[in-house]
Symmetry: C2
Subunit: 211 residues, 2 copies
DNA sequence: GCTTTTCGGTAACAAATGTTACATACAGAA
DNA sequence: TTCTGTATGTAACATTTGTTACCGAAAAGC
């Protein structure tokens, strides 16, 4: 918790003191569910380390990836839910080890008045989430699956910092809201074009991957 | 402007006075553009009468409908843009006659501190827009075009209060980000199934439309 | 009246995606 | 090792959506 000051939050010292005092440091590991459909949300997560993925599910069970949250980001939808005592529309899952600071919901509004840096942070978060959702809509509505797959792989590369992506075709299909066979087919084409190499549970992006 | 008090905003009297003083009443008519791609936004629109549609466009020219704004609603994305001096990612167009109150951007933040009812309104707006965007994503990602078309027609019916919808197949295709031929095809199927009647620039929804 | 433009209907085809089914390969457990 | 569950490869086919082309009807302009 002490290294909070070093993180890129840019909060004023008094606010950092309050966060240290009222915030609760929590650890999650691969696959842990931080927020879930239909559950009330009583705290707002600030992501300190690792990555969360935020998903939306349909009645029949299909899921689609909305966006990732990583360092110093937060889920604005959690904020909205906290304020209005609403149930969550989305699910957030830890990708690997994740540390968050949980801010209790009753502080959110108080800090908004007390700390300009908190207000700015919240407003910036809202804007970023809107922008991510718009990107997501753009991707689904306007791009074909092969482009979306490539974008997905790039995003995974960016977040992990590695060009070896650990995931099964099933998982990828889930997050793109399509079927495993389709993903396998498109990945095989990418491999044949010399963009990637395929292994079990692993995809290696080659140098000329983006072109 | 004087009938502002009667509208469902639920603002405190002092805030209403400020809105009357600093807000500017503006009229738009069918097709007028209130916000546009790449333009800076210097005021935030409160919709008093009529309906705005909010769209997102792709590079190649295709557009897709994100959601409608009608009575007492506002565009949270405009709010974000105002605060951060950002360019708009979306376009907002008047559907028929529209009255808005334009709130100058320098008041937004000030009122946030001064008026709890303003803060609540803004926060509620953020939550509503998120929810609309999620509905939009759900629709595009999980539903086939025929379902989306039906949902689109229902929404039009709800907003206009009439089961006669004035629109060409071209317009509908644009807002669903597909082509005219596809829309005509699906509409004809609906007509053959006794759900609707088709005329030039007009679609009449029949009684057993939803089933 | 005529001409032009826009709108809608339809066919024929192309492309993208989804589905089912089955084979094989691999990893870990027993 | 063998067994077993999971992951992947691939074919064949169905469905959905997109595209092009052409037609005639209705509205708008002249």
């Amino acid at each position: 918790m002490d290294n909070l000051v070093n993180l890129g939050f840019d909060f004023e010292p008094a606010l950092i003191e309050e966060i240290k005092h009222f915030g609760e440091l929590k650890h999650f590991k691969e696959g842990d569910i931080i927020m879930d459909y239909g559950k009330y949300i009583r705290m707002m997560p600030l992501v300190i380390k690792g990555t969360l993925k935020v998903l939306k599910k349909e009645e029949n069970g299909k899921e689609i990836l909305l966006y990732y949250l990583s360092n110093n980001e937060t889920c604005s939808m959690a904020y909205s839910c906290c304020l209005e005592e609403k149930k969550s529309d989305v699910r957030a899952i830890a990708e690997g080890d994740v540390d968050i600071i949980a801010i209790p919901h009753n502080k959110l509004d108080e800090w908004l008045h007390k700390f300009p840096s908190w207000k700015n942070y919240i407003m910036r978060s809202f804007a970023e989430r809107f922008s991510e959702l718009l990107k997501s809509i753009e991707s689904i509505a306007f791009h074909k699956l092969d482009d979306r797959l490539i974008a997905y792989l790039k995003e995974k590369q960016r977040l992990s910092g590695s060009s070896v992506i650990k995931a099964s075709h099933y998982q990828i299909a889930d997050e793109l809201a399509t079927s495993r066979v389709v993903v396998s087919r498109l990945l095989k084409i990418l491999e044949n074009n010399g963009k990637i190499l395929l292994y079990r549970n692993e995809i290696k992006l080659l140098r000329d991957f983006d072109s």
